[in-house]
Symmetry: D2
Subunit: 365 residues, 4 copies
Amino acid sequence: MIIMETSATPEQIAHVIEEIERHELRADVSRGEFRSIIGLVGDERKIPFDSFAILPGVKEVMRVERPYKLVSREYGRFFENPHKYRKIKVGNVTIGGSEPIFIAGPCAVESKTQLFRIAKEVKKAGAHILRGGIFKPRSSVHSFQGLGAINRERAEESLNWLRQAGDMYEMPVITEVRGEAHVDLMADYVDILQIGARNMYDQDLLTKVARKKKPVLLKRHFGASIEELLSFAEYIAAEGNKDIVLCERGILPLGKGREYTRYTLDLAAIPAIQKETYLPIIADPSHGTGRRDLIFNMSCAAIAAGAVGLMIEAHYDPTEALVDAKQAITSDELKETINACQKIHKLMQSSTTKTKATPDEKVKG
Amino acid sequence: MIIMETSATPEQIAHVIEEIERHELRADVSRGEFRSIIGLVGDERKIPFDSFAILPGVKEVMRVERPYKLVSREYGRFFENPHKYRKIKVGNVTIGGSEPIFIAGPCAVESKTQLFRIAKEVKKAGAHILRGGIFKPRSSVHSFQGLGAINRERAEESLNWLRQAGDMYEMPVITEVRGEAHVDLMADYVDILQIGARNMYDQDLLTKVARKKKPVLLKRHFGASIEELLSFAEYIAAEGNKDIVLCERGILPLGKGREYTRYTLDLAAIPAIQKETYLPIIADPSHGTGRRDLIFNMSCAAIAAGAVGLMIEAHYDPTEALVDAKQAITSDELKETINACQKIHKLMQSSTTKTKATPDEKVKG
Amino acid sequence: MIIMETSATPEQIAHVIEEIERHELRADVSRGEFRSIIGLVGDERKIPFDSFAILPGVKEVMRVERPYKLVSREYGRFFENPHKYRKIKVGNVTIGGSEPIFIAGPCAVESKTQLFRIAKEVKKAGAHILRGGIFKPRSSVHSFQGLGAINRERAEESLNWLRQAGDMYEMPVITEVRGEAHVDLMADYVDILQIGARNMYDQDLLTKVARKKKPVLLKRHFGASIEELLSFAEYIAAEGNKDIVLCERGILPLGKGREYTRYTLDLAAIPAIQKETYLPIIADPSHGTGRRDLIFNMSCAAIAAGAVGLMIEAHYDPTEALVDAKQAITSDELKETINACQKIHKLMQSSTTKTKATPDEKVKG
Amino acid sequence: MIIMETSATPEQIAHVIEEIERHELRADVSRGEFRSIIGLVGDERKIPFDSFAILPGVKEVMRVERPYKLVSREYGRFFENPHKYRKIKVGNVTIGGSEPIFIAGPCAVESKTQLFRIAKEVKKAGAHILRGGIFKPRSSVHSFQGLGAINRERAEESLNWLRQAGDMYEMPVITEVRGEAHVDLMADYVDILQIGARNMYDQDLLTKVARKKKPVLLKRHFGASIEELLSFAEYIAAEGNKDIVLCERGILPLGKGREYTRYTLDLAAIPAIQKETYLPIIADPSHGTGRRDLIFNMSCAAIAAGAVGLMIEAHYDPTEALVDAKQAITSDELKETINACQKIHKLMQSSTTKTKATPDEKVKG
């Protein structure tokens, strides 16, 4: 990490970048309020730090040992508010701002009618962003894979519905990108590109998505540690795209756990992650529990834990849904959930205790 | 499970019990508002259900297939409010009632001065019950095992302090029972007997503790499924003691997880458990996270998830504590935590959504 | 699953396929010794089974409920030896045959000299197939990603070395395919396409690789159940490619486990998997343990558990390796390992006990 | 750890012990071939190491930082063969010697006839030690808890059968001690006291059992790390009893794993543990897999991994067993298993590779 003088000129910055590239690394330049910071992408050991420290315009050179650097609070404190999260704007919505953000919609887009009806209802219930799966990652090749998987025409058609539903009900739209081949197509239609939990480790997909320069929602893999989630977010940041929203959606249960909840929603990861990174984090209680009757409580709990928003599956008739019927809630239930969450979010923000998970000094367990 | 007629006489009930014992099972008699219910302890397959159904005073005979029966909502609906938890009274405090209950105090009792000072502070902060470890279960034989482990005199002395501190500051007291040999001694001094997570599977200890007819706090083992927690609570209930408070305190983390939190606090287990049993459940964010800086958020999250109370380690100077210094908070922090939790508890109770985790019909994931 | 009469004509088979496709499913035709079997790819519920049962040439129609059908023993018994594994031929080598197969080589190809020297040594030590990583999936964007990741020229150059080294030392070659973009390129150079553990869930990649009609080595994700491994193998089989070698390479450790071994090598999965599928399964003790000093024992253990081969990282000077230096062994150690494994394999094959994990009737735990 | 001069007199040793006790620690004296070593039980930080170093007869003073010291190879190298395991003699049998040892018998003793018939058969099959459960730790209070749990008379009677069967068929006997209350009784009848997995963390039970000065078999809890297993073995060693046999019996499976195997048999733990301690380790494939049809393979695999013996449940008619019927094998199957294991054990011992898990220098992953 190279911290420039406040007086550093564009030429001096360009010279530092040139030197970095001469050593076969890439440079990530971030402009803070007062000064520019240059992060290194690649193996720092290749760099003679001493000779960089004396380049014109350089104030200080610091080594960062972890696998995540560009997304760390340590790096971010120069250009982000050290006590807050990065504000990610998408349309009229700000993720990581003063209000909690709710992403809702059907698990899978099944028809234009279904999508528009749900969009209308979730908007009325208070949702800010519309979700809808076009390509569904499924465990069984024999299950419905989403309309997009049928053929290119159906993919475009359903993406078009999603776009139109978002425009009509004034919500930005998000959908999951399952494979590299669909990145270009999807980026043409949606506002946020989602990387599903199963693809979190897919670094080629992350890189390709990052380059679209649109906000990315990165879900934590159900077997990933916090360090891994942040290390793979780093693949996106390394492409110069720091508009990354993290999402906790449940980790593998132990032993017989699956009978009661599908995954273990790791809510303590939320404040723990917020100590490490300036990226905002939301939770997905639908996939995290797999049970409709736990969503109200776990939504409230996630907000209390510090989530800046939630992603919830909603359907006018959950029992009718082709995918994940057991975990979707109705729009009435969604409304009650959003109401309660907003109150808890306000309550959490008014607290000033030092034990609150705002990014102060870190005390590791 | 044998459901008696509302008109059944004591003699008829006694006769049914006799018949049960003749088949080498034990009977658990619960008196509901209108009728008596008799649960069976032991292998139900030994019972000729048909011949029981025609005994005088018997209304209905039902088989329950799970390993937990006496603590199940199914059985409890005859004598407990089907939408609430069992109210467990200890002194002036009611666990499972309309107010959330906070158990606080030092991890280990270290001296009379330390204990009294902490007791005074946590009382002022709003705590209801005083905790303090006398025998500490430790991973290393070389670590401090609690004052009780030194000798019998120190054990009695420190139990005495705990009793006196509780009396002086008007809080019932709780301590952990580590081995069978100390059950009698401890039951003489404390109001609630705690079974620690490591001893959850110790059925001989559970049985011995249950027979003291005092409320029991049963912590979930870090490797136990929900079914196991309830099955071992059943060992206590089988002794006729249903004053059991369950406690979620974190399960084993996966992979590299331990670096960030010591355990994974499984908050979704709270509403999931409440669908299965009438026993009230609390959470322990101190052990569950192992990090002081996460306790405020995770306390609020646990209450939002549906916990009826919390157990929190507090110390006037956490860095001085001999045991678990990293996870204790100050009394000021405790006060803020209790305040916020009380507001969230009120907010959760006012909600009427059907997705709330009140014990309605169960929808499994 | 549609079982045809032994006398069924090609026209009758074609007619059945046509009917299947008319219902928007795909057909998988397997020719056994006596008869043809047609598997269905897609949602079987769309098919009116009764009307299929009376089509000309159809002997019987069976529903298979699991997510893996085409790779199951149940389906395979018509065209594979029910007590053995599918024999997968690649060059002169047969995976799943009477001899255990050893795949060895460097974790990452670093230079032509390094690769040729290792190829020569592992061949001499008894290895059958040469491995070498060109694109390495790494947790950190700042780590060495393999020569292939530098640019297209380096990728082709290193693939060329791999091909030449394989030809010179008469070993088929295998390398990992990290992203969809490299499938075509890699298929031009190597004999077996490997899907790494992190990509196991990447169904678009699986589909694309399957279509190359080359043998595929599918590694179990470290968070995947046996059912999931087989369900994702099914994605490959659904493209008509059943030359799939499964590989157990360790699952996520619990709690503090990582200090001693990097993953938990789940050897019992090997005989358990062999009861479910006819696909051969090997083990990777290098990644599974992450410790050079455990490889000899765990290699022998894997063969004793029933593995038909092993994948082992070898290097002339393990401490020099750029990637995974801690888990590579020398060629002398490889030779001793292969020798011991061959003896154990012979010993296991001579045993006739009914408890042996040959695919008899299944007794589930 | 205090290393005495070879010339140190008994008086000098006594003086060191006195000094240790004056600092409120306990001393563990081990006599090696050439010199005596004194280990410290308790918090070493209480000791002024410098002043100990100059006591008469003291050669060297060393701090050992881990929670397990007395059972570590580091400490053991002064009195145990650094390349082997401690030899534990029980009757005519030596655990940790040149031959693998097989412990077999019924899960639970059900009757005298059952026990004697099985004893006779397992002896004929080649078993060395007879096992039989008297008090069974069960997940459900409603399940059969073993004959011992009925009453004191039945407990003594069945222990008597076990003793007699062992004597008649010339096998030492082992049974599980479930609670502190039975330690005295059991120690009167059996040769090895077993601590079951569920009780591994029960330090009061470990201490009480250790004091009986009989060999102890300590099973790894299904949620315990290797470090924890060794730290709890240390509780036994701290009582001066180092005749401890460790047992790997499976750890908690992840996610949906339970469908295929009941636990995950962690065989890599065996060589990993052997690097850390001189205590011999065996495996229990019966509980570890929960599947009869996997026992032959997993027994062979455990021996290949380095186990010095196995514990296997056997029954003349497994389907008749009251407890764990799904995982017992017949005596014919036991015989074949023992035969194959003996051959593999011989083969493993003849190997001299440096990667073999004999306790050389440790290379951690």
